[in-house]
C-alpha cells in the first residue's frame, strides 16, 4: 500500500498544532489595539518578517503543487517557480517602500492615502475579499487532500481541522501570532526541503530492477494500472476493491529505465551533475485515459511510456504549458498571459502587502523583502530537485501528484516523512492565517468604516475583525469541502490573475502618475476584477473542468486573462483619470 497511517506523522502534526496555538495564546495578551491586532504593532524584526514572507507565500500550491507537477511532467512545474519568484522583483523594486510609507493596516490604506475616498476603500476591500477567497479555497482543498491519505480521515475532517486551528490563531492574536506561525513554517519548510535535497543528491540515480538488462523489460513496460469507479462509488483498483487487502491498491511508480553509459546506479551526485545525468537518462512516466462504461462505471487506465531525460527537462510536457510547443497563436498567448500574471500577481496579493505594515519603517520593509527573496528563491531552486527526486524515487502515487513530496520523503525514512507531512499541514496553516488576517482587516478597517461612515474605536474594529475572521474561516471551510475535486493550481492561478488585474494597475499609477484620480482608481479596481473573473468563467478550462461542457464552446480564445485584463486595468485608470481630472481637480 502507498499510504499507511503513520503514528509518528500524527504525533508530529499534533505537536506542530500545539506549538502554533501556544504561540497564539502567548501573544494574544499583547495585541489589544488595532495597531497590535492588524499590524503586530509594527514591531516585527525585519529578518523575522522576511522569513514570515516565505511562510506566507509558499503555500500548498508551491510546496505540493509544484513538486507534484515536476514529478509528473518534468520542467513545466519549474516555470511556476520562476514566475512566482520573479513577482518578488516587482514587490521589492517598485512596491515595498511606498506601501510601507503610505499604508497602515490594509492594502486600501495605501491606495486611499491621497484621496480619502469611500469608493476606493470599498472597491479595494471587495477586491481583497475576492482574491483572498480564491486563494483560500485551494489551501483548504490541499488540507483535505493531505489529511485523507496521511491520517486516514475524510476530506471534510482535514478542512475542518485546519479551519478551526487557523481561526483560533487569528482570533487570539491577529497579525502577531500569524507572523510567528509563518516564521516557524517558513524556516522549517526551507530547512527540511534542503535536507531532503541533500539526501536526494546523496542517493543519486538508480535504474529500477524491473528495467535492468536481463529482466523482462517488455513485460515491465507493458504493465498498466486501472481504477474502476462503479455507479455506486466503489473503487476497484487493479481488479480488487481498494483497501480490501494490502495488495488491493496502486503500486508506487517513478523509475529510471536507463542511465548514461549503461550504468545501473550513479552513487552520490552534485547538483548540476544530477541534472546533467538525468538529462542523458530515460525515465518511465505514466499517462492516463478515462472512459465511461455501459454499466455506469468509469474506467481509468494508467499506462507507462519511456521518456528521454532531455525531453523531461524541456518546457511543454504538461497540459498547462503544452501551448509552448504549439503552433496556435492562442496557445502562445495563453502561456504569455500566465507568465505575465505570475510576474504581476505577487505584488498585488493583499495578504502579502499587509506584511509590510508589521515592520517599523521603509528600510525594514526593504530588508525583509531581500530576506524573503533569498529564502523563497532558495526554496524554488530546491523544488526542481524535489520534483525530479520524486519522479525517480519509485514511491509516488500515479493518481495524486499533490502527494509527490511527502511520498518522496517516505522513501527516505519514516521520520522525514512525518516531518515533511507535518510541515505540509503547517504550510496550509501559515498561508490560510495570513489570508484570514487580510480579509478580516478589509472587513473591519475598510468595509465597516465605509458603511457606517464614522470612524470606529479600536475595540469595535478588533471585535468586527475577529467576527469577520470566524465568518471567513467558516466560509473557507465550506468552500474547501464543496470544491474538493478542483485542481489547486488552477484556483491559485485565478487568484493571481484577479489580483494582478484589479490591484496592480491602480497601485502603480498612483505611485508614478500624478494625474491619477480617485475615480480612476475605483473604476480600474472594479474593471480589472470583473473583467478577469468574467474571462475566467467564460474560458476553455472552466467549461471543461467546472461546467463539464465542451471546451470548444468557450467564449474567450484562451484561458488565462492577464494579457488582456492587466493592460485593461491600466487603460481604465488612465482614461477615467483623464476624463475626471477637471471635475475632481485632483491633479
Amino acid at each position: 500500500m502507498i499510504y499507511e497511517p503513520s503514528k509518528i506523522a500524527v504525533s508530529v502534526f499534533l505537536l506542530f498544532v500545539a506549538v502554533t496555538l501556544a504561540i497564539s495564546f502567548r501573544l494574544g495578551a499583547q495585541a489589544k489595539s488595532s495597531q497590535g491586532y492588524f499590524a503586530a504593532g509594527g514591531g516585527i524584526p525585519w529578518f523575522v518578517n522576511g522569513i514570515a514572507f516565505a511562510g506566507d507565500y509558499l503555500s500548498a500550491a508551491s510546496f505540493l503543487g509544484i513538486c507534484g507537477m515536476i514529478a509528473f511532467y518534468g520542467y513545466d512545474g519549474f516555470l511556476y517557480s520562476i514566475g512566482y519568484l520573479a513577482g518578488w522583483i516587482v514587490a521589492l523594486f517598485v512596491i515595498a517602500e511606498p506601501i510601507r510609507r503610505l499604508g497602515k493596516f490594509t492594502f486600501a490604506d495605501a491606495l486611499d492615502s491621497k484621496f480619502k475616498s469611500r469608493g476606493i476603500r470599498l472597491s479595494a476591500a471587495v477586491s481583497t475579499l475576492v482574491v483572498s477567497l480564491f486563494y483560500l479555497i485551494p489551501q483548504m482543498v490541499g488540507a483535505g487532500a493531505l489529511v485523507k491519505p496521511l491520517l486516514g480521515l475524510p476530506h471534510w475532517a482535514g478542512v475542518s481541522i485546519v479551519g478551526a486551528v487557523v481561526v483560533l490563531i487569528v482570533v487570539t492574536a491577529g497579525m502577531a501570532s500569524t507572523t510567528y506561525v509563518q516564521f516557524l513554517k517558513g524556516s522549517l519548510l526551507v530547512l527540511f526541503s534542503g535536507w531532503l535535497t541533500v539526501l536526494i543528491l546523496q542517493r543519486g540515480l538508480v535504474v529500477d530492477e524491473r528495467y535492468r538488462p536481463g529482466s523482462s523489460t517488455t513485460d515491465a513496460l507493458a504493465a498498466t494500472q486501472t481504477l474502476r469507479v462503479t455507479a455506486d462509488g466503489e473503487r476497484i483498483v487493479n481488479g480488487l476493491p481498494q483497501g480490501e487487502s494490502k495488495d488491493a491498491d496502486f503500486w508506487p511508480v517513478g523509475h529510471i529505465s536507463k542511465l548514461p553509459d549503461g550504468k545501473l546506479e550513479t552513487g552520490p551526485l552534485g547538483p548540476l551533475e544530477f541534472l546533467s545525468t538525468l538529462q542523458q537518462s530515460e525515465v518511465v512516466l505514466w499517462s492516463s485515459a478515462t472512459k465511461a462504461e455501459p454499466d455506469g462505471s468509469t474506467l481509468t487506465t494508467y499506462s507507462q511510456r519511456v521518456v528521454p531525460g532531455a525531453e523531461i527537462l524541456r518546457p511543454g510536457n504538461s497540459p498547462t504549458f503544452k501551448g509552448v510547443r504549439s503552433e496556435r497563436i492562442q496557445d502562445k498567448l495563453n502561456f504569455l498571459s500566465l507568465m505575465l500574471a505570475l510576474f504581476c500577481g505577487t505584488a498585488s496579493l493583499p495578504h502579502i502587502l499587509i506584511r509590510y505594515y508589521t515592520v517599523k519603517d521603509q528600510a525594514a520593509a526593504r530588508k525583509s523583502t531581500v530576506v524573503g527573496i533569498a529564502s523563497i528563491g532558495f526554496f524554488y531552486v530546491l523544488t526542481l530537485f524535489l520534483g525530479l527526486g520524486a519522479m525517480t524515487s519509485g514511491a509516488i502515487d500515479v493518481t495524486n501528484s499533490n502527494m509527490a513530496a511527502p511520498l518522496l520523503a517516505r522513501s527516505m525514512g519514516e521520520l522525514l516523512f512525518a516531518m515533511i507531512s507535518a510541515i505540509a499541514f503547517t504550510t496550509v496553516l501559515g498561508t490560510v492565517s495570513g489570508l484570514i488576517v487580510a480579509s478580516s482587516g478589509a472587513v473591519a478597517h475598510d468595509l465597516a468604516e465605509s458603511i457606517v461612515r464614522t470612524p470606529l474605536t479600536d475595540h469595535e474594529k478588533i471585535r468586527i475583525a475577529k467576527l469577520a475572521a470566524v465568518v471567513v474561516g467558516v466560509l473557507a471551510m465550506a468552500l474547501g469541502i464543496l470544491f474538493e475535486k478542483m485542481n489547486v493550481n488552477f484556483l491559485v492561478g485565478w487568484a493571481f490573475s484577479v489580483a494582478a488585474s484589479a490591484n496592480l494597475p491602480s497601485l502603480i499609477m498612483l505611485l508614478f502618475w500624478k494625474g491619477t484620480t480617485r475615480q480612476g482608481i475605483t473604476t480600474a479596481i472594479l474593471v480589472g476584477m470583473i473583467s478577469s473573473l468574467t474571462w475566467i468563467l467564460l474560458s476553455e478550462d472552466t467549461f471543461r473542468d467546472i461546467y463539464g461542457l465542451n471546451p470548444a464552446d468557450a467564449w474567450v480564445p484562451f484561458s488565462q486573462p492577464g494579457i488582456v485584463t492587466i493592460p485593461l486595468g491600466f487603460a481604465t485608470v488612465i482614461l477615467v483619470s483623464l476624463l475626471t481630472k477637471e471635475r475632481s481637480g485632483e491633479s
Binding site: 501573544l27 499583547q30 495585541a31 489595539s33 495597531q35 497590535g36 499590524a39 503586530a40 504593532g41 509594527g42 514591531g43 520542467y75 516555470l79 517557480s81 520562476i82 519568484l85 520573479a86 518578488w88 522583483i89 516587482v90 521589492l92 523594486f93 517598485v94 517602500e97 510609507r101 502577531a176 510567528y180 548540476l272 551533475e273 541534472l275 546533467s276 545525468t277 538529462q279 542523458q280 532531455a310 527537462l313 524541456r314 518546457p315 511543454g316 509552448v324 510547443r325 502562445k332 502561456f335 504569455l336 507568465m339 510576474f343 517599523k360 519603517d361 521603509q362 528600510a363 526593504r366 530588508k367 531581500v370 527573496i373 533569498a374 528563491g377 532558495f378 524554488y380 531552486v381 526542481l384
Partner: protein
C-alpha cells in the same frame, strides 16, 4: 515580544527619488531578463534544449539563472540603498 501595542516611529518615512530611480532601473534590467526567458520559450522553444554548460540545457540554466539573479539584484539594491541613505543623511548634516 514587547512593543506590539505601540507603533515604533519611523526614521525614514520620506520618499527618496534616488532610491525610487534605482529601483526602477534594476526592475527594468530584471524585466528584460524575464521577458527574454518567456519569449524564448514562446517563440523558439527548441532553443531551450541546447546544452551550453555542464551538461545542463538552456531551459534549466536560464531558469536557475533568473532565480539567482533575483537574489543578487536584491542584495545589490539593498547595498546601494544604504549608500544612498548615508549620502542623503550626510547632505542633511551639511545643510545644518
Amino acid at each position: 515580544m514587547p512593543g506590539f501595542d505601540h507603533a515604533t516611529k519611523s526614521v525614514d518615512e520620506a520618499a527618496s527619488p534616488r532610491r525610487t530611480r534605482l529601483g526602477l532601473q534594476l526592475f527594468c534590467v530584471y524585466l528584460a531578463l524575464y521577458v527574454g526567458f518567456v519569449l524564448l520559450n514562446a517563440l523558439a522553444p527548441e532553443r531551450m534544449a541546447i546544452t551550453p554548460f555542464a551538461g545542463v540545457n538552456l531551459a534549466v540554466l536560464y531558469g536557475l539563472g533568473l532565480i539567482v539573479a533575483a537574489f543578487l539584484m536584491a542584495l545589490l539594491y539593498e547595498v546601494l540603498c544604504r549608500r544612498i541613505d548615508r549620502q542623503d543623511a550626510g547632505r542633511g548634516g551639511d545643510a545644518k
